[in-house]
């Protein structure tokens, strides 16, 4: 099993795609049992090798095949399309089903050998006969050579014709049909690289407004850009930034303020950002501070120096909304993940692990205790396993089904239905 590097439901939730460090994409399909409960199962639907390792001979550098992001296109016909990207190249894949095959050729035998034309005495029309379902994935477009730095995000526009790809310093706009050209819409590379102090960490198109996108930075800011204003969106329309809390200031303040993920809400009115210790919800109409802040693992605040030393402080956690934007979810360490119910002001910590849980069993909430007396079932902050991190999570667009990726495993949880 390889390390999972991205997880994404398609727009109906019927398909779930995962990408891994080995460049493979595995797609799962939902199967709903109507009896006895409306339970869903996700089974492997298709597996294909999306990216291969490449070697840049000019620079003697290896280009990793790890899939950084997968984004589905809305379905337009029988086939499904998704974009998958590694550090340098984006590919558009078509996933289609084949459940019939032709039979009865005139010039070919059943096994494919050609017949001697002299032996043919009559003609017939070949017919399509049913066969076992076969799912084929074929690369339809390859968008290459547009990024000098490592691609961290791709986002399909609501116009269904264009998409953006973002690397550390630049964002490019592509048309899905055109592979030999892309437009650079954001460029934050300084003239002198020695002056570089900030990089782009994530970018996303607005779900409804095809002219609007946001990008987040390593300094904890989010810029909203309007493509109608100018071709190069270096000047933002809005800058979202929360002033620093002076009482919490430390040498690590900047590092932990670096935003690792940004996601618009489904309704397009809010966006959520994930930094190292918290999740923040922003109203697009208010730039000076978020409307909600949720602490993901406050117990780590006193451990920042150690987390800096072992590099965990640079871990990039993702976050996601549920279908109606009432709950947000993100991952943490020790295979814990957290959900915050915005309306009810409740939060829960759950664990994705095979050890203490059997299939169909309700997950037990977990708690981390900070020093002092450890209650039964609590886990102390020093016992947390920092190698077990949940960086990637996804929520079904309509139902309460979630996909949670630990390092090597994918867990799918759903609401208990009576």
């Amino acid at each position: 099993a390889d390390i999972i590097s991205t997880v994404e439901f398609n727009h109906t939730g019927e398909l779930l795609a995962t990408g891994d460090k080995g460049g493979r994409v595995v797609i799962f399909q939902q199967e709903i049992e109507s009896m006895p409960q409306f339970r869903s199962e996700y089974n492997v639907y298709s597996t294909f090798q999306s990216h291969e390792p490449e070697f840049d001979y000019l620079k003697s550098l290896e280009i990793e095949e790890k899939i950084n992001k997968i984004r589905w296109l809305p379905q337009k016909n029988a086939a499904q399309f998704l974009l998958s990207t590694n550090d340098k190249t984006i590919k558009l894949w078509k996933i289609s089903e084949r459940d019939r095959r032709p039979e009865g050729y005139n010039l070919k035998e059943e096994d494919g050998r050609y017949k001697d034309p002299n032996t043919i005495t009559s003609l017939r029309v070949p017919v399509l006969i049913p066969m076992d379902l076969m799912v084929e994935a074929s690369p339809r477009r390859v968008f290459a050579n547009a990024h000098t730095y490592h691609i961290n995000s791709i986002s399909v526009n609501s116009d269904n014709e264009t998409y953006l790809s973002a690397d550390d310093l630049r964002i490019n706009l592509w048309h899905l049909e055109i592979t030999d050209r892309s437009f650079n819409i954001v460029d934050i590379k300084p003239a002198n690289m020695e002056e570089l102090t900030e990089v782009i960490t994530a970018a996303e198109f607005h779900p409804h407004q095809c002219n609007t996108f946001v990008y987040s930075s390593s300094k904890g800011t989010i810029r909203l850009c309007d493509m109608r204003i100018s071709a190069l969106c270096d000047k933002h329309s809005k800058l979202f930034e929360e002033p620093e809390d002076p009482s919490n200031r430390s040498f690590f303040s900047e590092i932990i303020s670096s935003i690792s993920d940004v996601k618009f809400s489904h309704n397009g009115r809010y966006m959520m950002t994930r930094d190292y210790l918290s999740v923040k919800i922003w109203d697009l109409n208010m730039e000076n501070r978020p409307v909600e802040t949720y602490q993901v693992h406050e117990h780590l605040r006193s451990k920042l120096c150690s987390l800096y030393e072992n590099d965990c402080i640079f871990d990039k956690f993702e976050c996601c909304w549920n279908g109606n934007d009432s709950v947000v979810m993100t991952g943490s360490y020790n295979n814990f993940f957290r959900m915050f119910d915005r309306g009810q002001r409740r939060d829960v910590t759950l664990e994705a692990s095979r050890e203490n849980i059997k299939p169909m069993q309700v997950l037990k909430p977990r708690k981390v205790c900070v020093g002092g007396k450890r209650k039964k079932d609590e886990i102390s902050v020093d016992s947390l396993d920092f190698n077990k991190k949940i960086l990637h999570t996804a929520w079904h667009p309509q139902d309460n089904i979630i996909a949670v990726a630990t390092t090597n495993n994918l867990y799918i949880f759903q609401d208990k239905v009576n």
């Binding site: 000098t148 730095y149 490592h150 650079n184 020695e194 430390s250 040498f251 120096c305």
Partner: protein, 301 residues
Amino acid sequence: MFPKGTKRKFLDSAEDAATATVAGEQGPASTRTPSPSYSLQRQSLLDMSLIKLQLCHMLVEPNLCRSVLIANTVRQIQEEMTQDGTWQIMTQALAAAQCPTDRLVATEVLCRQSDPAAAAAAGQSPKPYPLVGGLDRGYHSEEVVMEAGDAHKEALPTQSYLAGPFGMGPCWEEEQQQQEEEEEEDGGDEDGEESEGEDVDERPEVDSRPGEQVFGTFEIKQQPPPPPPPDPALEELFSDVDPSYYELDTVLTGMQSAPKMGPYDLLESLSSHGPQPLSPGASCRSDLNELDHIMEIIVGS
């Protein structure tokens, strides 16, 4: 999470100090002296960060974001140390030592000195900084880190030094120069030509004066030090600063020819210095000790 008990103890107090509020120390910079434990922890954070930068090319995945964040942290520490005056002390002591670079003195000898000046005279070298300049090796540095001429400006304030690259320019340039030629029409052509021009101009500089170039980056003193005589260890360190596209192999061989110590070994040797005496002179000495120790290990004297 903590591999060694001793390290944990060291770091836990480092947690408290490093996350201590900087805002708590009000008042003019000249009258504000950081507590010894705070400055010790800050120094160790600085060392750790420098090592991380030095070794960033040994990561499985080169990560620009991480490098930028670490560099900003280093900058922040240095700014604070400059305000405290600690930075001046350290750099003065280092710059006062105009020793040939091949004379790395063992730390025991240094500990016996009674004051920083004597310690410096005993054979400290400003070597620690080129540590980071060694980043040059890991990346195809067509761009000059900083003009050597800049280094010898008279009134170069320490703050502007911070804008210097720590050898990070090349670190981040790893993929730019040639790729820019392939960039899209929109800005691509101009970019490509520009960087190509830069390439051609700067290659000879990178070639001929690697040592001075790297020293130049970190030189902030008034009197320029004499250029260090060629030193076999240094030669080895900079041997592959070469404009042609050297392979990763060269870099790796370069690293391997140094004593076989991984990044965590370096940290260990740092932390093994343990708590230092509290007087300012001694803390300065401990800084020197630590930096010198790192250098010793890297260069393999």
